[in-house]
């Protein structure tokens, strides 16, 4: 009984300490993570997101294709990588699947005013003032019509994040080399290989949804990912950061089971040896 009382005191002290240095300290240091807003409340919804894909393609070819490619539809960018780096310090992304990755209202508003949509005044793409709202509707309709269905987490991550972020443990290098990125963003954006270990899933979702909410002043733009794409990206980042999770969970059961068995045996042995000791 006395032994159990001592054990109980130890357990209580350890639990108080654990509560203090883990959950409590983290709640004080980081505060509560805000909920992501996947409807993009502040983005005006009056720009049409539907229209004629054929007209959209025409508009795309004349207005967008000088910088952006669209491999799904055989469109090559009018500019090679070196030229785009010299002009923008960042490589303009291929837009093959952008219609599936981004929220449609966000995408429409982004074409109209990239700086405000991304919350990044230095965002490289200029506003497409020459396009009417109706035109934008055609372009968005076109982008949605060519996109691949059921993109994987990796595909979305590479397309949405890959022009600035590398994932070197997955052998993914950023489209833009480090030096121009440093000029464009002020620093080289972090590698995403183990970001899933450095940040919680909830934090990543909120951060991707609106970087300024969690890290005011960051040069990372808001990208307008849909809820589904955000979740796929975060799940992917979490997975690649911890590839042995299943192995760990299974092995853990075996090891602990074995040790419990050992505890039984050693307890029996102790009983036997101590039988005659008072």
């Amino acid at each position: 009984m006395k032994e159990l009382k001592i054990l109980l005191i130890l357990i209580v002290l350890v639990l108080i300490g654990y509560w203090g240095i883990e959950p409590y300290a983290h709640s004080v240091m980081h505060g509560e993570v805000k909920q992501p807003d996947h409807t993009y409340k502040d983005v005006p919804k009056n720009i049409p997101t539907t229209g004629d894909p054929v007209k959209g393609k025409e508009l795309f070819t004349t207005n967008c294709a000088s910088c952006h490619g669209l491999k799904n539809d055989g469109v090559n960018p009018g500019m090679d990588i070196q030229t785009s780096i010299t002009s923008f310090k960042v490589v303009p992304p291929d837009l093959s699947n952008i219609g599936a990755i981004l929220d449609e209202h966000f995408l429409a508003y982004f074409i109209k005013n990239p700086q405000d949509a991304t919350k990044n005044p230095k965002f490289a793409m200029p506003p497409m003032a020459q396009l009417s709202d109706e035109d934008i509707g055609h372009v968005v309709a076109y982008l949605k019509s060519v996109t691949k269905k059921d993109l994987t987490g990796k595909e979305i991550t590479v397309e949405a994040c890959g022009r600035c972020h590398s994932i070197k443990y997955q052998k993914v290098l950023s489209d833009t080399p480090k030096e121009p990125l440093k000029e464009y963003l002020g620093k080289v954006p972090p590698d995403l290989s183990v970001i899933g270990k450095a940040k919680n899933v909830e934090y990543l979702e909120t951060f991707i949804n609106n970087p300024q909410n969690t890290l005011p002043g960051t040069s990372m733009p808001r990208l307008g990912l849909t809820k589904e794409s955000t979740e796929k990206v975060v799940t992917y980042l979490d997975q690649i950061a911890d590839p042995h999770r299943d192995q760990r969970n299974t092995l853990g059961i075996w090891v602990i089971g074995y040790l419990l068995f050992m505890a039984g045996i050693t307890f029996a042995w102790k009983k036997k040896i101590w039988k005659n000791i008072h």
Partner: protein, 394 residues
């Protein structure tokens, strides 16, 4: 048995086994807190083995260290993650069992005559273990590794005259960088483990000479041992130890597999960057109490540093601060009160140590630091009261 005879003639193994195990007697009136010495040995063994496996793949180079840990060991090597988890959790749990082992020694007066050498060597082991943990924490070369090392080495700057030069000498550069990593690596895998092994041997040797303390603080005489008042170390004492170890390992491996995050800070999964200071810098949990004493004197850095050094070293002088003839806290009501205040304060400081030192927290840290020292300052007074009471009572 022929081989044993042959060996006995040359190494006197039978005598050795008797002295060390079968005829080494441990008092009967001890509880499972006396198991923590053995648990420390167990964790030490776990750290040695897991450390050797990590050593096979780890690269002590500022450009390679982070990837060798987070890619090679954690992803590519078969069960590499297991060794890293075990090593990280082992380091953390080492301090948990150390603190309990030390607190048991303090509560039951195990530092008192004739066990001063046991206490001093134990204290040296604690300091060596702290140095091992501190140097080891730099090796993954993450943000927290880097900035903890940067912050703690900066403390030496305050030392009069030689401070600034000393800091550069320790780091091998003006800031923590490659040279620092390589030398911390050398200390962590070679010099410190060697010293730990040596002092563990002296510690255990000293215990074999003076014997274990017990709940009541009385000593076993030779007659007591013959009359069966003690139990033999082997097999009786160890029979219980194996059970305690098994239960401990269940807890330990539960942490390794399912609850390891407390031992591997999230921020440390971001590579070290000397241009970007993290928002919050804090040491691992086992240094938080001492760190809080350092920060507790928030109005004067110098005072804080002195208090910090004092808080780490004063523990060594317990045998001379507490001169009461009564050994065990079980029979010392005043001492017991102070002991529990001290334990509560240590826990309080540990929790505060991770919180931002601003506003109320800063003042609480100051109060906590003062209370920390009150325990040690009260010991001579308690000793005097108890001596008077004993003299009066007789």
């Amino acid at each position: 048995m022929k081989f044993m005879d042959w060996l006995d003639e040359r190494l006197a193994v039978r005598q050795l086994v008797k002295v060390m195990l079968t005829e080494y007697y441990v008092p009967k009136n001890i509880n499972f807190l006396w198991s923590f010495g053995v648990l420390i040995m167990l964790v030490m063994a776990i750290l040695f083995v897991s450390g050797i496996f990590l050593l096979m793949y780890y690269k002590p180079d500022a450009n390679l260290a982070f990837d060798s840990v987070n890619k090679t060991i954690m992803m590519d090597v078969e069960y590499g993650w297991l060794f890293r988890h075990t090593h990280a959790v082992g380091a953390s749990i080492m301090f948990l069992v150390l603190f309990i082992h030390m607190a048991r020694g303090i509560y039951y007066g195990s530092y008192k005559a004739p066990r001063e050498i046991v206490w001093i060597t134990g204290y040296i082991l604690f300091i060596l273990m702290s140095a091992t943990a501190f140097t080891g924490y730099l090796l993954p070369w993450g943000q927290m590794s880097y900035w903890a090392a940067q912050t703690i080495t900066t403390l030496f700057e305050k030392i009069p005259f030689i401070g600034p030069d000393l800091v550069i000498w320790i780091r091998g550069n003006y800031i923590v960088e490659d040279a620092t990593l390589t030398r911390f690596f050398a200390l962590h895998v070679m010099l410190l483990p060697l010293l730990l092994a040596i002092f563990t041997a002296i510690h255990l040797y000293a215990v074999r000479i003076v014997g274990s303390n017990n709940e009541d603080g009385g000593e076993l005489t030779k007659e007591d041992k013959k009359k069966g008042k003690g139990i033999s170390f082997w097999p009786v004492f160890m029979a219980k130890e194996f059970f305690v170890m098994s239960v401990f390992l269940v807890f330990f491996f539960y942490l390794v597999f399912y609850q390891y995050k407390f031992a591997m800070d999230q921020i440390n999964f971001i590579p070290a960057d000397y241009l970007q200071t993290p928002h919050h810098i804090y040491p691992e949990w086992y240094f938080l109490a001492f760190y809080e004493v350092l920060r507790g004197f928030f109005f004067s850095q110098n005072l804080g540093l002195i208090a910090f050094l004092f808080s780490m070293f004063i523990v060594a002088f317990l045998p001379w601060l507490d001169t009461s003839p009564i050994k065990s806290g079980k029979h010392r009501p005043l001492y017991r009160i102070m002991f529990w205040i001290f334990v509560a304060d240590f826990l309080f400081l540990t929790i505060l140590g991770k919180l931002p030192a601003t506003g109320l927290y800063a003042w609480l840290g100051f109060v906590g630091s003062i209370v920390f020292f009150i325990f040690f300052l009260a010991l001579p007074i308690i000793s005097r009261i108890e001596k008077k009471r004993l003299a009066g009572g007789m």
